[in-house]
């Protein structure tokens, strides 16, 4: 029997967790909302859980640790659900204990995995904001669809999400627009039944978008072996890229600085983060421009220049492609709508 939507609005609870080690990915029957503050001795931030009755559980972990923090999770990964991790801000590194998978989270990318009973740890970097939104999706969500669908060629992610196979998907990236939608979603208050409906709608949309990505882009199976040292170097390359966003170095320069060849750098970057170096750079630039424009801090031309676009019309075109609106419209809308106050 398909689960019943339960749209009752329950009061949000705010509690202080003793540690960050507890993170239940279990899907429950009822809707509920819970926010836990990050303990003060560790840093700032919170973990917000949104349980959408019977189908999806969202957990948003938004943290700025004082020092680099390694969190060892006590909870095992669920058997009846597939888990996704979407990075909304910053970066982090997950290590799974039994299967030895390593997930490189960076802003905009996501991984999906069905690894029942495994557990792991995550490293958040000190003094940096990391925000990871976990999706725990019940296998029942997709099995409700018509039987005739079974005959079509299924994507790797479809099999993962219906629990037919186990493993971790290669990373992919979401559009800037989708990331912004998710940021709004996890920070806006959920009080009425229609707020719950909106959250459910957006969560389903993201799941469908991810499935679509894996259908369109055939998985590149020709992975190259990367040593622990290589991974570290590629992480450094990413930091250099972000640090010098306005005047980015060439790939050859970066490769030289970190000490790997350009082939390995390009290929390795794609393998770890699910995107190319310059697509990542573009996405980060546009994201920063979006924040500058939305906050009213800068006008469109200033923001374009700030993030390294010399040509405003090229900037507008790229912005439109990433966010679905012109930068001008984005500025106007932010002026008219008073900024939402974080409710829960």
């Amino acid at each position: 029997m398909p689960p019943q939507r339960n749209t009752s609005s329950q009061p949000a609870t705010v509690a202080t967790a003793p540690t960050l080690n507890e993170m239940s990915l279990a899907i429950e029957d009822s809707n509920h909302l819970e926010t836990q503050k990050v303990p003060e001795d560790i840093g700032q931030g919170h973990t917000r859980t949104i349980n959408i009755g019977g189908r999806i559980r969202l957990i948003n972990r938004d943290i700025i640790p004082r020092e680099t923090a390694k969190v060892q999770y006590h909870n095992k990964l669920p058997e009846q659900a597939t888990v996704g991790a979407i990075t909304l801000y910053g970066d982090a590194l997950t290590d799974l204990n039994n299967t030895r998978h390593q997930l490189h989270h960076c802003q905009g990318n996501y991984h999906w995995g069905h690894i029942p009973r495994d557990d792991g740890s995550i490293v958040f970097r000190g003094q940096k904001r990391s925000c990871i939104l976990y999706f725990s999706v019940s296998h029942g969500l997709l099995t409700q669809y018509p039987e005739s669908m079974g005959s079509i060629e299924q994507s790797s992610l479809w099999r993962l999400m219906t629990g037919q196979v186990g493993g971790v998907s290669a990373p992919r990236v979401l559009s800037n627009e989708a990331i912004c939608t998710l940021r709004d979603l996890v920070s806006s208050p959920i009080t009425t039944p229609w707020d719950w409906m909106r959250v459910e709608a957006k969560a389903l949309e993201i799941v469908s978008t991810c499935l679509f990505h894996y259908d369109r882009e055939p998985t590149d199976t020709s992975d190259i072996p990367l040593s622990r040292d290589d991974r570290k170097k590629i992480t450094n390359a990413r930091d250099i890229l972000i640090h010098r966003m306005e005047t980015p170095p060439t790939i050859a320069e970066i490769a030289k600085t970190i000490g790997v060849n350009t082939f390995k750098l390009k290929k390795g970057f794609k393998q770890l983060y699910g995107t190319t170096m310059f697509a990542y750079l573009r996405s980060r630039r546009l994201d920063q421009a979006y924040e500058l424009i939305r906050s009213g801090e800068m006008n469109v031309t200033e923001a374009a220049f700030e993030v390294g676009y010399a040509n405003p019309s090229a900037f507008s075109a790229a912005f439109r492609k990433a966010f679905g609106v012109n930068p001008m419209e984005c500025r106007k809308s932010s002026y008219q709508v008073p900024s939402q106050i974080h409710g829960a």
């Binding site: 749209t7 009752s8 969500l141 669908m149 009425t192 229609w194 709608a201 969560a203 389903l204 499935l211």
Partner: protein, 337 residues
């Protein structure tokens, strides 16, 4: 599933019935078919009618008709256990809830939400004209909550969903967002299973957007708090507007007269009076015109001028659009008695 039916009747311009569809029970929607199409005679034009069974208790339907002659198409939808959102995208529709004589006239586009024993849609078609409509059909149980946590929520549409009330919500206009979402839904391709997930997400989004529209205006949840001195100024602006109804100032001028900035005035006005400044003025003018005509003190032209219409025929058209009768008839009706 008993008693649910969809029936089409088509009349020519002399009101002779030229087609009647067999009763089609919505019970034909099985898990396996998911999509069903109604068949209408193709010698009269192009008809497309499609029902999509999205999930348990949730369906989406779409209809599009283009005729080659003048026709009246009557579609009766009897689904007493469902809340139905009817979205009119183009054409001329009238909606009549079963068992009442109440007609909900729609101009070109709009939305009607209802939870009634049945609905009859009457669509007047001109040759070559296309009428398009979409429907969301939902069992109230899909959203009902076992606990009554939402008793504090005041929302006319939510009352229909909770099944506490039976009836029809006031018709609303289609918003830009509604159009965007409907366009997205109508491009649905059933071949890929994730598109079904996407479809469900868009239907939920549409319902959610519509619910927030029926949220009580002025409650602390919606909008922002208006400082008391601004409220006084917005009220003053309203008084000026009404006072100068025959020759209303521009919004910019109105803002200056009331001593408030234009943005605050527009935003605050909408929050206090749940309408735009000119929308409010239009309604107020019509209300006054109606009262004055009824009193019999003035003739139609005098009333038109008094409420700010320089062109009497424009006044006549606006009046008829609002009340369904032209002003002269209205005056006769009350004054001759």
């Amino acid at each position: 599933m008993h008693g649910e039916q969809n029936r089409y009747r088509i009349y020519d311009d002399a009101r002779n019935k030229i087609f009647e569809s067999a009763t089609s029970k919505s019970g034909i929607f099985t898990e396996a078919t998911r999509i069903s199409k109604a068949v209408l005679p193709d010698n009269l034009g192009t008809f497309e009618s499609c029902h999509i069974h999205i999930a348990k208790g949730m369906r989406f339907a779409f209809e599009s008709m283009t005729t080659n002659r003048k026709l009246v198409v009557q579609h009766t939808r009897e689904e007493p256990d469902h809340v139905i959102g009817s979205f009119f995208l183009s054409g001329h529709f009238q909606v009549q809830p079963k068992g009442t004589s109440k007609l909900i006239p729609k101009q070109n586009t709009g939305i009607v939400w209802s939870h009634t024993p049945g609905l009859t849609y009457t669509s007047d078609l001109q040759p070559g004209q296309t009428s398009k409509s979409a429907y969301i059909i939902i069992k109230p149980e899909v959203f009902s909550s076992p606990q009554e946590h939402d008793s504090a929520v005041k929302n006319g549409l939510w009352d229909l969903f909770k099944g506490n009330s039976v009836g029809t919500c006031t018709a609303e206009h289609l918003s830009v967002d509604d159009h965007r979402i409907l366009k997205n839904i109508l491009s649905f391709n059933p071949a890929k299973p994730w598109n079904w997930l996407h479809l469900e997400s868009k239907v939920l989004e549409l319902v959610s957007n519509n619910l927030s529209r029926y949220e009580q205006v002025g409650s602390s949840k919606s909008g922002f708090a208006i400082p008391p001195h601004d409220i006084a100024r917005i009220e003053a602006a309203r008084d000026i507007l009404i006072d100068k109804m025959d020759n209303p100032p521009s919004i910019m001028k109105l803002a200056r007269l009331a001593g408030i900035n234009e943005f605050k005035l527009k935003k605050g006005f909408k929050q206090i009076y749940s309408d735009t400044i000119y929308g409010y003025l239009r309604r107020y003018r019509m209300k006054k015109a109606y009262e004055w005509l009824k009193s019999g003190e003035m003739n139609v032209t005098e009333v038109a001028v008094k409420v700010g219409f320089t062109n009497p025929s424009a006044f006549g058209a606006a009046f008829k659009k609002q009340f369904g009768v032209n002003p002269a008839e209205c005056r006769r009706k009350f004054f001759s008695v």
